[in-house]
């Protein structure tokens, strides 16, 4: 990446920063209901016996409701693992992990499934069914609710908010990469989950559609007061964050609001780090 490009990038970041003055990211809050996620002393290991390998070390992390938090860090540092733990996709054995006010350590598989229904997942790959239209893919999420009679209206409404009103009856094969990812986002958001977990949602997209997708996520989250935890390597989209956390070798290294993050991370070195990942 050229010097001038990274400079212009840091400028754009600083600009958007000014809008965030007074954000409450690092304030502590004693009311437990104010948190979407509360993690204490979390350790996580892969493998058994001699092959056992610790990938997360003593993580403490609180995510305030309504925050958009970006998680960065080198490849292999455990970002995806942390996301799947918060998403109740893996079982935690050590520490405490509260998601939307509920302790999920020690829950049965069936109970974990119920926790997942309150979380919206967005993956790097869209994982849409080729056999279903955009609307049907979104409807699959609505059908998880007890009341799904109006699933088509809900799906169309959500897709329209993401600018896909004229694409609801298209199959994924007839949609562009950005459009497919927006359908996946519609599927994740249609049930209005209080917590949204996204793992590199823009990685498969070009610059422009990546930016669009993230802006849409930000707007929807801000309107509805949702919490977003997003893993990304894409430093072009850091400006949507209220808070940026960095994971290195399984440890939470920095926890900053955007302003501090940019100030403490020299654009050049920041750029280099992003590049390494």
């Amino acid at each position: 990446m050229s010097q001038s490009m990274s400079q212009s990038m840091s400028q754009s970041m600083s600009q958007s920063m000014s809008q965030l003055v007074g954000s409450t990211t690092l304030e502590t809050n004693s009311d437990p209901n104010a948190y979407a996620v509360q993690i204490r002393g979390l350790n996580y290991y892969f493998g058994q016996g001699d092959l056992r390998k610790q990938v997360l070390f003593d993580i403490d992390l609180d995510l305030l409701k309504g925050q958009i938090v970006i998680m960065t860090g080198p490849s292999g540092s455990g970002k995806t693992t942390l996301l799947t733990l918060i998403g109740a996709l893996r079982t935690v054995r050590e520490g405490s992990l509260k998601v939307l006010g509920q302790e999920i350590v020690g829950l049965s598989r069936a109970e974990l499934v119920n926790v997942r229904r309150n979380i919206g997942f967005i993956f790097q790959a869209h994982n849409l069914f080729d056999s279903l239209t955009a609307a049907q893919n979104v409807e699959m999420a609505v059908e998880l609710l007890d009341e799904w009679g109006d699933k088509r209206q809900k799906a169309i409404e959500m897709l329209s908010q993401l600018g896909l009103a004229d694409r609801v009856d298209y199959k994924p094969s007839a949609l562009s990469g950005g459009q497919k990812q927006r359908v996946a986002i519609a599927r994740a958001l249609v049930n209005q989950p209080a917590l949204i977990l996204a793992d590199e949602p823009t990685a498969a997209l070009d610059k422009k559609s990546g930016r669009e997708v993230v802006t849409l996520m930000q707007q929807l989250a801000k309107q509805e007061g949702r919490t977003i935890l997003m893993v990304t390597h894409d430093n072009r989209i850091l400006d949507v964050a209220d808070r940026i956390i960095t994971l290195v070798d399984g440890r939470l290294e920095t926890d900053d609001n955007l302003e501090n993050f940019v100030n403490t991370h020299d654009p050049k070195s920041l750029d280099r780090r992003m590049f390494m990942m």
Partner: protein, 380 residues
């Protein structure tokens, strides 16, 4: 209505769906043909007895079925004649002769019924016609079954050919069918039978036919016969002798085993084909299924989706399989001149449909494991 995911997944891959339907249809056809042959075997076994003019039958205990009888003394028949309720007793002689096709001069086994021309052994009025009655009484003359295979040659009255190195003249025709045991049949008088099967003592008979007086109780007369006659003959009512013959063909000979095996092998073929299709389909959708799990769908839902796909394949494959089997039955019936009474039966149609659904569900159970154990954490 919930999104019909199973159906939409299947119809999305048109080629794969067609292959699956063809595979299931193929298995269905194989099953229908095997069951058809098995059924026609049972039917063929009973066919001859509905043509015989008797309610009770005497056979040697060593007799397996009508074409492989062990002879027994005719005295038993005379003894039976004295029982109350018996109207008439008639001997039947049976055996195989080598029939030479007069045109191609090739030999072929033909099944022969020897009767007393005065006895109304067969129900068919055709055999009682004056011309046929006269022909039966002529020496070295026999009636030929129209349902005999064409390989036996011309069937016109007056045709002369050689049977076991003896001249024989065709004296007339009748319609009977030889079932599984015979490609063709002849009827001749007991006197002619003795000549062709020389040396053959007419005091030993193959089958004793007991015709009852109208209104006589079949079971009662049969019981009385069993009580009176010595152990060297079996007394069987018509349903009993038919059952005995079926049991022989289906149980004792390897015929029933072969067709039964055919059904099993066909089912295995079907299971493997459907398994392949379902497995590929699941593999292709692994990420999507794992995503559904992450969204909060339970393994149960995915399990039923795969079972639904299997049942849909079963029904879609059954329909053409059934239609083609009907055609093949018709073809078989024609090819055997109606000698193989093969045909569709409602019970069989329903059974095969259930079997097909069971077969596909089994494939689903085998292939579904993969999606049940799918770990949603791995798609992240």
């Amino acid at each position: 209505m919930k999104t019909p995911l199973a159906w939409l997944n299947l119809v999305h891959e048109k080629t794969r769906l067609l292959v699956a339907i063809a595979g299931v249809a193929f298995a269905v056809i194989l099953v229908f043909m095997n069951l058809g042959f098995l059924g026609s075997l049972a039917k063929a076994a009973s066919m001859i007895y509905s043509q015989l003019n008797a309610e009770v039958y005497l056979v040697s205990p060593q007799t397996l079925e009508i074409s492989t009888t062990k002879a027994f003394p005719i005295e038993r028949l005379y003894q039976a004649a004295g029982i109350a309720g018996v109207e008439r007793v008639m001997p039947l002689y049976t055996g195989y002769l080598q029939w030479r096709n007069p045109e191609t001069r090739t030999n072929r086994s033909i099944f022969v019924y020897g009767i007393n021309p005065n006895d109304p052994v067969f129900v068919s009025p055709e055999i009682q016609s004056p011309e046929n009655q006269a022909a039966l009484r002529r020496p070295d003359t026999a009636l030929i079954d129209r349902l005999s295979r064409p390989e036996f040659g011309p069937q016109t009255t007056g045709t002369v050919t050689e049977v076991d190195r003896r001249q024989l003249t065709i004296g007339g025709q009748y319609t009977l069918g030889g079932g599984f045991a015979a490609d063709g049949t002849l009827i001749m008088s007991d006197q002619n039978f003795r000549r062709f099967f020389d040396p053959f003592p007419l005091r030993l008979i193959s089958l004793g036919l007991v015709k009852l007086q109208p209104g006589a109780d079949v079971e009662q007369v049969a019981a009385e016969l069993r009580r009176t006659l010595p152990e060297d003959v079996l007394v069987l009512t018509r349903p009993q002798i038919i059952q005995r013959e079926r049991d022989y063909w289906i149980g004792t000979t390897s015929t029933g085993f072969i067709f039964g095996m055919g059904v099993i092998v066909s089912c295995i073929v079907g299971v493997v084909i459907v398994y392949q299709i379902l497995y590929t389909d699941i593999s292709d959708h692994m990420k999507q299924y794992a995503t559904l799990k992450a969204m909060g769908y339970r393994s149960q839902f995915l399990f039923w989706t795969v079972v639904q796909e299997a049942v849909i394949l079963a029904v879609l494959g059954y329909i053409p399989g059934f239609a083609i089997s009907l055609g093949l039955y018709e073809l078989t019936l024609r090819a055997t001149n109606g000698g193989l009474p093969i045909g569709m039966e409602l019970g069989r149609a329903v059974h095969v449909l259930l079997l097909t659904i069971g077969m596909c569900s089994l494939s689903a159970l085998v292939s579904v494991r993969k999606v049940i154990v799918a770990d949603p954490a791995e798609v992240f």
